[in-house]
Symmetry: C2
Subunit: 153 residues, 2 copies
Amino acid sequence: MKLSLRGEYALRALIVLGLNAEKDVVRIQTISEQQNIPKRFLEQILNDLRSAGILESKRGVSGGYRLRLPPEKITLASVIRFIEGPLAPVSCVSEKFYERCSCPDENVCGIRSVMKEVRDAIVKILDGVTLAQLCDRVRQLQGKHANPLDYII
Amino acid sequence: MKLSLRGEYALRALIVLGLNAEKDVVRIQTISEQQNIPKRFLEQILNDLRSAGILESKRGVSGGYRLRLPPEKITLASVIRFIEGPLAPVSCVSEKFYERCSCPDENVCGIRSVMKEVRDAIVKILDGVTLAQLCDRVRQLQGKHANPLDYII
DNA sequence: AGTAATCTTGACCGTTTTAGTGGGGGTTTT
DNA sequence: AAAACCCCCACTAAAACGGTCAAGATTACT
């Protein structure tokens, strides 16, 4: 029941990219600094997201990354599935990554039936949240929690 | 978003114990054979469940394990929390195992807000299912999927 | 009393996953 | 041509995972 750091970094990076969708591209370094993610590690992750078809990149000076799809088309479920694998707590109830488990008889496995419910609940949420919505939430939170000092100027 | 084998074994063992609640105790070996779990490994796990206060044991010949609480009082959430740790997909949204994460500002972290929903959904299910209910499900499934050959005699 | 079947305890071990780091190469802008 | 990017591949340290082993303590039975 866990999201690895790698997955968390991926989502955080996507949020930055989503919030800067109007920009041509955003550099790895920028994301790395803003989000406090080791640069080389982030490099790998963004590259993976690119080969997943979620991002595209521009090389050379003034290069960087940008979303390849509109943020409304990117669901958290798809990102996490790509970066982490199955959403289900045990893969014997996974839709996309099914693997038989070691229990004597899947048909009579009580755990499966509960874990299917858990999987469905997780999928329902993560399939229903797009990057666009996630970015909206962030903008809202930023509004609410803006540091009063920010307004002093 | 994953339950380790250890956790799965724990639940499977508890089911066996739950289904045999009328018996004095059940031996490790029996569970191990029935559920196809390596005996030495299972030994550890049952011991952990004992120190968690979920099981109690009897030593010596004709020893074994038994539930220390009525199955209605044992929730899946409590078992998994004890064996695996946090139910939340990231520990910065965990109720019982909170740990700060590396994001620049938790108050403005969009991931947290989604992951909180996921956590709540998971907790809602796993807190709502007791071992007694789980055993009921198994009995039901056993009824449905009984091998026709079983009736030939 | 002796023995065999259990649980108990703690250490140990190999493999896989995680979270990175490092070096060298290719591209593009200036 | 040089600087600032991305690209790719290999490597590694540490932790987690999935077990295994040895030796001891307890109990039931004969």
